[in-house]
Amino acid sequence: MDKRAAFRSWWLPSLFALPQIILILLFFYWPAVAVLRWAFTLEPPFGGAAEFVGLANFQEVFADPLYWNSVGVSLAFALCGTLATIFIGLVLALAVDRQLPGSAPFRFLYILPYAIAGPAAGMAFRFILSPERGLMASVNAAFPDFWNPAKYGSHALILVIVVFAWKWAGYTFIFLLAGLQSVPRSLIEAAAMDGCGPIRRAVDIQIPLLAPTLFFLLVIMMTEGFVGADTYGIVARTTDGGPNHGTDVMVYRIVEEAFRGLNYSGASAQSLVLIGLIMIFTFIQFRFIERQVHYK
C-alpha cells in the first residue's frame, strides 16, 4: 500500500529517519552480525583473535543433552502456554460478547494482569502456589507432596505456564473480543432464525469466523513463548530454570550460558537456531496475514 507521496526531497526524510536508523544499526544490525560471527568462531581461552571453527559450535550445542532438554521444555512451555491463553481468552470473549447486563466491568478487569511484568507476577505466584503456604498448602496437607514445584521439574513447568497464561489471557481476550464484535450481527440473527441456541451459534458460526484471529494469536503467542521478553523474566524469577533444568527454556539457557558460563560462541549458536525459528513464525504470520485482513 503506497500513498501518493506528497513531498519531494531526499535529504529531509533521511534526516527524519536518521536517529532511528542509527539506533537500529548500532543496537540491532551490528549485534545481529556479531551473533553470526560468534556462532562460527571460537575465542581461545587465553585471549588472542577468535578463530573460525565452522559448524563446530553447532555440533557441540547439538551434542549436549541439556540443549535438547531446553528445546523440549521451550516447546512444552510455548505450546501449553499458548493453548491455555487462547482457550481462556476465547471462552471469556464469547461470554462477554453476549453483552448481558453487568458484563462491562469484567471486560475492564480481564485486561489488568497484562500490565504486570512477568518477573513480578512470577514472584507473587511463588507465594500463591507455594507448597508450604498460600493456596496449595491445604491440598498438600491432605495429600502430602501432591504439589511441589521446588522439588519436581514437571510441577515447576506447570507453575511457569500458569504464570504465562495468567499474564497473557487478557491479551488474547482483547483480540478475540474485537474479532467477535466484527462478526456481522445479521449472521448471528440468521443462525438464530435457523433455530440455533447461543452455544450452538458460538460453535457453528462465531468460532469458525474467528479462525484468522485465532491463527494470528497462535503465531504471536508461540513467538512470545519462545523468545518473549517476559518468558525469560518469568522463568528467572519463578524457578531459576530449575529444579534440575525442569524449566530451562531456550532463552534462559542462552543467557545463562553467555553470562554465567561465558560461552559466547555456544550462546550465539543457540541464538541462531532460535532466530531461524522466529523467522519461520514471522514468515507464516505474513503469509496468512492477508486472510486476516479480509475479515476486518
Binding site: L23, L26, A95, R133, G134, P198
Partner: protein, 295 residues
C-alpha cells in the same frame, strides 16, 4: 441479544465469574497477603480476608529493597523509553510514508526486519555493543584509515544504556505508519497548496491529528519500559541505577530467615502498581494501541 435462554445466561455469568476468580484472584491474594502479619500470611489454610497491616508492610518492603531509588529509576527509564519511542516512531513513519524518495523502501525494510529479532535472542552482542559503544566506529576508522583510535564510551550504569537499545525497535513505527496511511492523500496536498512545507505539515497537521495515536503508544510503551527485566539486569551493576524489577530479588525472604511473605507481597504490589494504574486509567487507548500495533 436475541433469544435469551436462562440456561445459557446462567452459564455466561458462571464463565465470567470464573474468569474473574482466575484473572483477578491472584491480585486478591496479593493484597490480602500484603496486609497480614507474618503469622497470618503463613497460616494454612490461607485467609483471603485483608487485614490492617498493608501500609506497615509496604513501608518495610520499601526500606528493605530501597524501593525509593528503584521506583525513581524505573520511572525515569520508562518515561525515557516512552518519549524516545513515540518521537522516533512519529518521525521515521513520517519519512517512510510522506516522501517520494528512493531511500523510502530502504528505510522501510531496515525498520521492518527489526520486528523479527527481539532483544532476548541478540542480548549477548547487544550487551557487548553497549559496553563498548564506539567499537563499530573504531573498526570502521581502522579499516578505512589504518589507524587505531582509542576512544571508548560504555553505556553500563547509565540511563542512556538502559533506554537506547530498547528504543531501537519498530513496533511504534508501524503503529504510526498505519495511522498515517489512513489519512487521505488530499490532506497533504491541500496543505501544500496552502503553502505549507513538509516540516510545517508535520507540526500543524500530523502532530495534532495523531493525538489519540500518541496516547495509545504512550500507554503501551510506558508499561513496556517499566516491565523490562533482563536488560537492566545486564546493564546495571551500580545500586544507584537499580530498577524495580531488579529489586524483586531483595524482596524475597532469605532461605534461612523468617518467611515474611507479607512484606514480599507488599513490595511486589508497590512495583506492580504504576503500570496497573496506567492501564486501568487509560484502558481505552491502551486497548486501541495493542490492537493496532499488532496489525
Amino acid at each position: 441479544m436475541i433469544q435469551r435462554t436462562p440456561f445459557a445466561n446462567a452459564l455466561t455469568y458462571g464463565v465470567m465469574i470464573f474468569g474473574f476468580l482466575l484473572l483477578i484472584g491472584p491480585f486478591i491474594v496479593i493484597v490480602s497477603g500484603a496486609s497480614q502479619t507474618f503469622q497470618q500470611v503463613n497460616a494454612i489454610p490461607f485467609s483471603f480476608v485483608p487485614q490492617d497491616r498493608l501500609f506497615e508492610n509496604m513501608g518495610a518492603a520499601w526500606s528493605r529493597a530501597n524501593l525509593g531509588t528503584a521506583m525513581l529509576n524505573s520511572f525515569i527509564m520508562a518515561s525515557l523509553v516512552t518519549v524516545g519511542k513515540v518521537s522516533l516512531s512519529a518521525l521515521t513513519a513520517f519519512a517512510i510514508v510522506f516522501f517520494r524518495t528512493p531511500l523510502k523502501g530502504f528505510f522501510f525494510w531496515m525498520v521492518f526486519i527489526t520486528l523479527m529479532l527481539p532483544l532476548e535472542v541478540r542480548v549477548v552482542p547487544t550487551y557487548a555493543v553497549a559496553a563498548d559503544l564506539f567499537q563499530p566506529i573504531r573498526l570502521l576508522i581502522s579499516a578505512v584509515t589504518g589507524f587505531e583510535v582509542s576512544v571508548d564510551w560504555n553505556l553500563l550504569n547509565s540511563y542512556t544504556g538502559l533506554t537506547l537499545p530498547l528504543i531501537a525497535t519498530a513496533t511504534g513505527t508501524f503503529l504510526y505508519r498505519q495511522f498515517y496511511l489512513t489519512l487521505p492523500d488530499e490532506l497533504a496536498e491541500a496543505a501544500r497548496m496552502d503553502g505549507s512545507g513538509a516540516i510545517r505539515f508535520f507540526i500543524d497537521m500530523l502532530l495534532p491529528l495523531s493525538r489519540t495515536n500518541m496516547l495509545a503508544l504512550t500507554t503501551i510503551m510506558f508499561v513496556y519500559g517499566w516491565n523490562q527485566y533482563l536488560w537492566p539486569l545486564l546493564m546495571v551493576t551500580d545500586p544507584q541505577y537499580k530498577t524495580t524489577m531488579m529489586s524483586l530479588v531483595a524482596l524475597l525472604p532469605s532461605d534461612n530467615g523468617t518467611p515474611d511473605w507479607n512484606v514480599t507481597l507488599a513490595g511486589s504490589l508497590i512495583i506492580m502498581l504504576p503500570p496497573l494504574v496506567v492501564v486501568a486509567v487509560l484502558q481505552r487507548w491502551f486497548v486501541r494501541g495493542l490492537v493496532a500495533t499488532e496489525k
